[in-house]
């Protein structure tokens, strides 16, 4: 699990859509849709407002992120995590 140990398989998250009052910041955990990869959850490492995209990463050493699939368009982001309910 690439966000382990903070996020593990079976955890629940509540996400909020991105808007004027809820802007993205570095370090936010976001859920986004990526063609070929499906719906993913990762952490934002950098945001480029001019290009309207961000780079994401997992927190586990073997996880994939923007180094593998490139920057994520901000329009692909479904929301950022505002509540995390761990399984354990």
């Amino acid at each position: 699990m690439s966000l382990s140990p903070a996020y593990l398989h079976g955890d629940y998250v509540l996400i909020q859509k991105i808007g004027q009052l809820n802007r993205l910041r570095k370090g936010d955990v976001v859920v986004f849709q990526l063609p070929g990869y499906g719906r993913l959850i990762k952490q934002i490492s950098t945001i480029d407002l001019e290009m309207a995209d961000c780079r994401v990463k997992g927190t586990a050493p073997d996880s994939i992120g923007s180094d593998s699939f490139g920057a994520v368009p901000l329009t692909a982001i479904l929301g950022k995590v505002i509540l995390h309910i761990p399984k354990k």
Partner: protein, 166 residues
């Protein structure tokens, strides 16, 4: 507490899921590497037995060859476990297990048989591993609706292998 309440709601309303993939989800799964690994284990066991028969003196050449055979046997027994683990962990879904309830036990047996191949030098261990992996391959292809056939591999150790009929 909160998790178990939400889990019950989830069971009824099926929340959407997001994956934190560590692997690139390429969708390429094939048990043939596990089968090749099992065949390699048997081949190494045969070479070890042949070397033992052919050598009367335990010299440097003997040790060198024996160590190489054992090292390859170790590597491929682990490789076999790894390939099966990836298919079972990433490809096999709940409905596959419902259709083939022997799958979890079969997978566990493969892991144990592969470890047995590392621990000892008996050929039967390798044959047992191959038989289990072949059964796993039959089930894997069946989950895709692809028929299989059994044929003797055209190379040593000349054992029977399950192939998909494509």
């Amino acid at each position: 507490m909160l998790h178990s309440i939400i889990s019950k709601i989830d069971q009824k309303h099926h929340f959407e899921t997001a994956s934190a993939h560590c692997d690139i989800p390429c969708g390429i799964y094939d048990p043939h590497l596990a089968q090749l690994s099992a065949l390699t284990v048997i081949r190494m066991l045969d070479l070890m037995a042949d070397l033992e028969k052919g050598h009367t003196v335990v010299d440097t050449a003997f040790r060198n060859s024996m160590i190489r055979y054992v090292a390859v046997k170790e590597e491929h027994a682990e490789q076999c476990k790894k390939e099966i683990r990836v298919i079972f962990g990433d490809y096999i879904k709940k409905d596959h297990i419902e259709k083939f309830p022997e799958l979890p036990e079969l997978t566990h047996k493969i892991f144990q048989a592969a470890s047995k191949c590392r621990q000892a030098a008996a050929r039967e261990n390798g044959l047992e591993l191959l038989a289990l992996v072949n059964r796993f391959a039959e089930i894997f292809w069946a989950t895709k609706g692809i028929e299989t056939k059994k044929a003797v591999a055209p190379y040593k150790p000349s054992e029977e292998v399950v192939y998909p009929v494509l």
